[in-house]
């Protein structure tokens, strides 16, 4: 399958290793990955803050950039949700653009979703082996994508990985984009609750598949003085297949 990668601005700049892992895992599975150079941001910050004219411009841009490809994958739940849940509603007065937005929405997937629901990948068959204990944080925007336990099913299938379920695994970490800057004390309390729950699991790693949540959770773990590696499932799988050197990230 030819798959176009939408890297997202935060992953591109702050978590390139997540993008590398995404590419390597999908190539390992025999797919051809294309990276359309013209891509920038999906417009989520503008949309969420009410700047819908700007969000619409950025959505048009995204639709154009990804128009040639059959499948689009992104390692971020919230950017996938922006495309899937909100793009079509931006063009209610413009049926051509709306159709184009729906086309993009229909072919865009979050990475884990693509693995589980489209490619039906089985970690055991694939022979993924990753030694260690890990817990999992469910990013809020997966709700909008209709995702539930896809990541957990993959995690449970990884040989050598001891999964430690977390209390309140599906509670918001408090990132919320500009929410974290506008209401820092509320956001800070939310992420400290998350860190507390991570600590309770005693896991060495917390799997987090969204760059925004990762920046927030990793930053709070560091501030609270707990040593836990904040890592994406794509990285775990890539390491578990020997596609990335685990030592690189330790």
């Amino acid at each position: 399958m030819k798959i176009a990668l939408f890297i997202t601005c935060l992953t591109e700049t702050y978590y390139p290793r997540v993008g590398i892992a995404t590419v390597k895992v999908l190539e390992h599975l025999g797919h051809e990955i294309i990276f359309p150079r013209a891509q920038t941001c999906c417009g989520q910050p503008m949309y969420n803050n009410g700047f819908h004219d700007d969000a619409r411009d950025l959505a048009r841009r995204m639709i154009r950039v990804f128009e040639p490809y059959e499948t689009v994958v992104t390692p971020s739940g919230s950017c996938a949700a922006m495309i899937r849940d909100y793009y079509p509603s931006l063009f209610q007065d413009d049926s051509d653009s709306q159709t184009a937005a729906e086309t993009l929405a229909g072919k865009a997937y979050e990475f884990v979703e693509l693995l589980v629901n489209v490619l039906n990948v089985d970690m055991r068959e694939l022979g993924v082996r990753w030694e260690g204990t890990a817990t999992y944080h469910y990013s809020c925007h997966l709700r909008g994508l209709g995702m539930t336990d896809e990541a957990i099913r993959l995690i449970r299938g990884i040989d050598g990985l001891e999964y430690r379920p977390m209390d309140g695994f599906d509670r918001c970490c408090g990132f919320g984009g500009t929410f974290s800057l506008n209401y820092p004390s509320i956001s800070g309390n939310m992420v400290r609750d998350k860190v507390h729950n991570i600590r309770e699991t005693g896991a060495d790693a917390v799997i987090c598949n969204d760059a925004g949540c990762a920046m927030n959770i990793a930053g709070a773990c560091r501030r609270e003085g707990i040593t836990v590696r904040c890592v994406s499932l794509a990285e775990i799988i890539a390491e578990g297949l020997g596609l990335l050197d685990r030592e690189d990230a330790l």
Binding site: I7, C9, T11, E12, T13, Y14, Y15, P16, R17, G19, I20, V23, F35, R37, T40, C41, G43, P45, M46, Y47, N48, N49, G50, F51, H52, D54, A55, D57, L58, R61, C140, H141, R143, G168, D170, R171, C172, G174, G176, G177, F179, S180, L181, Y183, P184, S185, I186, S187, G188, N189, M190, V191, M215, N216, G219, A220, R222, R223, D248, A249
Partner: protein, 505 residues
């Protein structure tokens, strides 16, 4: 009794927790709520357990059909709202037929005026009242007291709040922000009861006191959970049976209800009663469900001589506009409050500054009171969507909050600084060269500020910033900020792509 006391007992002269000076400044409330560790912890524990129990109750009863139930309930409500004129008329006809005197109040003032006129005309002086959010909206209790009608809240939570001069913080659990000690102190101070923190003893004290009030009352005031158009029936759900005492004993009963409380048929009630009780308190049904179809009839032993129903609009017909209509589906179950991480953190401190708090409050308060008066409410939300996932009538709350944010931009309520900032940001994102330039600037700037960090491969060597000035300083006050890595994804892609392409040549 004045309501000028906050949960912690400090008096804030002039400012009612739920009717603050407008435009409402949320910042001091957030600050106080966050600083009160004890309060925050107790509200968090309470809401989280309610949320968990709700989820368990639905899983046990409906399993995977839970979502279909919500869908059905949402559709019934939406259908009713789409044809509200028809169903209102049907309800009024049926209720009138049954002997209910139906009144219509366009706003809070009118609702209170109708209520006080009925009390005055019938010479009522002692009123017992069951829990009703719409009477909180209209501030009915002070209006009755002003004409000399002693009005006692009979819902245990509301009773305690009334005694302590406090205000409700949660739609269903109004005193979620209070602990036993404050209740014990209030009972001792206001009722002359012996000091005890034992919940059972405290309940008995309240019970004794309220039983006497029920016997003396000549006016009973209630809200309504549902109004059945088919039969003209008023339905009230309680767990304490206080609505029964309130409406059956006194000779006059006045019910106040928002116009959105209508449901078409009796059979629809089975859907809503199941969802309401489970969503609010994880019960299969509320302990008491009171049905009122008209006053006492000839030959009947009990019931009031007169039943009045005041249908309250108070801003609702405006919300009936297409884009916001869905919000009127709300059955006030409080599930969105319990699941909301923001409410859990600041909800105990009356941080929303309005009758309705939590996600539903953030969505409807600006509609009731003016967006310009509550500019923070649409924004004090991480858009996590937990509320939409639990709403028993499937209101897409985050989408409504985003719509309000958009209105703030178009109506220029959003600050000029923010408007310019976002426009500039968007301009940079719309052009690849500019996007690449700001990405690079961001990389070098943040890495220069980042003090510590492990030396690893260039794609995972982020540094950390512990202290930043200005708006970003909010982030670093609470947690560290990771910097970009020394190389970005595009750099890797260029080399990777080249390598991958070579064998094919």
């Amino acid at each position: 009794m004045t309501s000028t006391q906050t949960h912690s007992g400090e008096r804030k002269p002039g400012e009612h927790p739920l009717n603050p000076k407008l435009p409402f400044d949320i910042k001091p409330r957030i600050k106080a709520a966050v600083a009160d560790t004890h309060l925050r912890q107790s509200v968090k524990t309470a809401t989280e357990s309610k949320d968990r129990n709700r989820a368990d109750a639905f899983r046990e009863t409906f399993g995977p059909r839970y979502d279909q139930m919500r869908d059905l309930a949402g559709r019934i409500k939406q259908h009713t709202l789409d044809h509200l004129d028809v169903y209102l008329e049907r309800f009024v006809d049926q209720a009138t037929e049954a002997g209910v005197q139906v009144h219509y109040a366009a706003d809070a003032e009118q609702a209170n005026a109708i209520c006080t006129a009925i009390a005055r005309d019938n010479g009522c002086t002692r009123c017992v009242k069951s829990k009703s959010m719409v009477t909180e909206e209209t501030r009915l209790v002070p209006a009755l007291e002003a004409i000399g009608v002693e009005t006692i809240e009979t819902d245990l939570g509301e009773f305690i709040l009334q005694l302590d001069g406090d205000a409700p913080s949660h739609i269903v659990t109004p005193m979620i922000h209070k602990d036993r000690r404050s209740v014990a102190r209030a009972f001792q101070r206001e009722l002359g009861a012996p000091y005890t923190e034992d919940p059972e003893q405290l309940t008995m004290i309240a019970r004794e006191y309220l039983r006497q009030k029920y016997r003396q009352a000549d006016l009973g005031i209630s809200g309504a959970n549902f109004l059945i158009a088919q039969t003209g029936t008023i339905v009230i759900c309680t767990n304490e049976g206080n609505a029964g005492f309130t409406v059956h004993g006194p000779r006059i009963h006045i019910a106040l209800a928002g116009i959105e409380k209508i449901i078409p048929k009796r059979s629809h009630l089975s859907v809503f009663l199941k969802l309401l009780a489970r969503s609010s308190t994880s019960q299969p049904l509320t302990v008491y469900t009171t049905f009122i179809t008209g006053p006492r009839r000839e030959g009947e032993h009990d019931g009031p001589e007169q039943v009045h129903l005041i249908l309250v609009d108070n801003g609702r017909t405006e919300i009936l506009a297409r884009s916001t209509r869905e919000l009127l589906r709300c059955i006030r179950c409080g599930a969105c409050l319990n699941t909301c991480p923001v409410f859990c953190t600041v909800g105990g401190g009356h941080a929303y500054g309005a009758i309705y708090s939590g996600p539903i409050g953030s969505a409807i308060t600006p509609l009731f009171k003016g967006l310009e008066n509550y500019p923070d409410l649409p924004h004090v939300c991480s858009l996590c969507g937990a509320c939409a996932a639990v709403c028993p009538v499937k209101i897409d709350l985050p989408r409504h909050l985003i719509r309000l944010r958009r209105e703030m931009v178009t109506d220029r309520i959003t600050s000029r600084r923010d408007r310019l900032g976002y426009r500039a940001w968007a301009t940079l994102l719309k052009r690849l060269p500019l996007y690449l330039v700001i990405t690079t600037i961001q990389r070098y700037l943040f890495r220069a500020l980042g003090k510590t960090g492990a030396k690893r491969g260039g794609f995972n060597d982020r540094r950390w910033i512990a202290n930043l000035p200005g708006k970003v300083g909010g982030w670093t006050r609470e947690r560290d900020l990771p910097t970009p890595t020394s190389s970005g994804f595009r750099t890797w892609w260029k080399t990777h792509h080249k390598k991958r392409m070579q064998p094919r040549r």
